[in-house]
Symmetry: C2
Subunit: 366 residues, 2 copies
């Protein structure tokens, strides 16, 4: 007997490499563009505020409900998703330290069942890690051969909870909300989490579901479409009751998860919808250009509606292309896992990044 | 059967009120002084970096190991605690989103036992919340009547883990490291967590234990002595093996918990040891002045080595004083809990804050 017997042992999630120095970094789905310039302006304000000692906000605990941020989210999302009114209220929104924090807390809150949580075999690889760390049973349901989800697998399967990433990662496959709605409807006794990390790059959000169903949680992030991976901002939307349960668990873990700069800077970022729309459009345009070029080079891939493309080459192995890109200081993501080892997940960078990528791939596949 | 049956239900921790506007706020143990001026300077640098779009760091994921911060902590703590060398390495240090995040993660990592976790009946009120949320058994051991810890209660009691805050909160009682060492030695099969949130205000840290024992974790925070409650920075120190287990769980929850501003600003703050020493001295001086004045007014309290005083009045009830201070826009902390309902926890503010407090208390007790 030793204290080590009581240690919770896990196989942690492996994040993408973070190489230093001048490289082309297309391996962690970061946005190639900086966040809204309002963010930099707000940072100046914060510096001024701190310099004037007595007005320091950093010495105080941050707002534990992230009120300014949640208020801003309600305003902006209501304009976008509920222009006819009857939209979100403060109590429909949860904010956390990136969507990972939000999803971890949601797993912990909603999935305390003896029945397995179900999700696709190929999806965001944190789902099974979270199930393991909480010791929840789980079952991974194989995607079809073309990597699409067969929604019939989720309509009549006993489960203690469901998680679907839409668009899915790392495949980029997108499901129409009408399809997902069937899953939500068929499982009134389970919470269905829809992870929309990449939804802003061309998909249609399931956000309106939360007004019709009390068993669906929509999770989003500021790390991709809002260029704020470095601030760690994630959100969840749901029925008031669902959000209240989620907050109870959050306040049983850490009263103050979001620090003062995160709340302040995310608030100005979300309010700048013009910048958001413009940069999202640029990423989509670059993605479509990249798709064309990849096709010309013999790559095969689905119709990604994300800020990445999940592609394999018709002749050359994923591992080989990955290694040869790396030699050229170009980083993409590759997994040595069943079914996807031939694939590369290529984040959409700037036009220049993608031109260099295509040039390098041209040399490699020649 | 409904999805609500699978919800993890808890009674969340209740944090101190955060009143807005011009009040004297002595209820959450924040530091009355701003953080090191190096922090404001660094915020300016960050603003400049972000303005120059292409150098944006906020668009990228932060350093998941918080390397600059941990390196700075190792340097500063080695100078302070291990001047003779053979001190901390990178692998002895864990950093998280406030000591709450660090402690929650430590509970989750180390306390997976059928035997109860043990801690005092009067202590930081998150300990039992964390035990409950993880569904770990726990047992609260009564403090002595004078609120001191009888270490004999911890030497021969079967347990699945031990947590001691030193100095204890909200009592302010301090135990000599030699006493705590007996507890660590007597429990080689349990992890002993020593929560040193308030240690910098006059106590001696147990940090050197980590070089002698592999079952002790020392937890500290930047929220009190380093004036950075708004940034959410907590640390843990332990044997390399212990820290590795802790990191495995952390990386099974969220790869990137500390955002970029937190890492950058905490790094410059910890390096400014001169400012740290000076502000800590000021808080201690104000505390000692406040003790004298409180004594003159008929208050009874122990010898606090923290940035608060836990006091009751010889004649007037805690509830009454609390209410009357509040009428005067002075906020202190009061709990309607057994054994401590007559007490107020008064954070140490500026000299001006404390003069106003003493004046108000003079009127109330007259």
């Amino acid at each position: 007997m030793s204290w080590e017997d009581n240690v919770r042992k896990v196989t942690p999630y492996t994040a993408g490499e973070q190489p230093k120095g001048r490289v082309i970094k297309l391996n962690t789905n970061e946005n190639p563009y900086p966040p809204s310039p309002m963010v930099a302006t707000r940072i100046y304000d914060l510096a001024q505020q701190e310099l004037d000692g007595v007005t320091s906000m950093l010495r105080k605990y941050p707002d534990m409900d992230a009120v300014p941020l949640v208020d801003a989210i309600v305003r902006v999302y209501n304009e976008q998703y509920f222009p006819q009114g009857d939209g979100l209220t403060f109590d429909n929104v949860f904010a956390g330290v990136g969507s990972d924090d939000v999803l971890f807390t949601a797993f912990m809150t909603f999935f305390n069942s003896d029945k397995p949580i179900i999700f696709p075999d190929i999806t965001y690889s944190f789902y099974d890690v979270w199930a393991q760390v909480h010791r929840f049973p789980y079952r991974m349901i194989p995607l079809k051969d073309d990597f699409s989800i067969d929604i019939n697998d989720y309509l009549d399967t006993e489960n203690g909870g469901i998680v679907i990433a839409n668009p899915n990662a790392p495949t980029g496959e997108y499901l129409d909300p009408a399809e997902l709605e069937k899953i939500v409807k068929a499982n009134p006794d389970s919470v269905v989490i829809i992870d929309e990390a990449y939804i802003d790059f061309g998909g249609e959000s399931c956000l309106p579901f939360i007004k019709k169903y009390d068993n669906v949680l929509i999770v989003q992030t500021f790390s991709k479409s809002r260029s704020l991976a470095g601030l760690r901002i994630g959100t969840a939307f749901g029925d008031e009751k669902l959000i209240r349960y989620l907050k109870d668990i959050k306040f049983s873990i850490n009263s103050y998860t979001m620090n003062y700069p995160a709340i302040e800077l995310a608030t100005v970022a979300v309010l700048d919808t013009e910048y958001f729309n413009e940069t999202v459009k640029r990423v989509i345009k670059t993605r479509e250009w990249t798709k064309e070029k990849l096709k010309e080079l013999g790559f095969i891939f689905g119709d990604s509606k994300t800020n990445f493309i999940f592609a394999r080459h018709e002749k050359i192995s994923g591992e080989e292309i990955f290694a040869k890109l790396r030699e050229r200081q170009i980083y993409v993501r590759h997994w040595n896992k069943p079914r996807i080892s031939e694939y590369l997940r290529i984040s959409i960078g700037t036009d220049e990044d993608m031109k260099e990528l295509i040039k390098a791939l041209g040399e490699i596949v020649k």
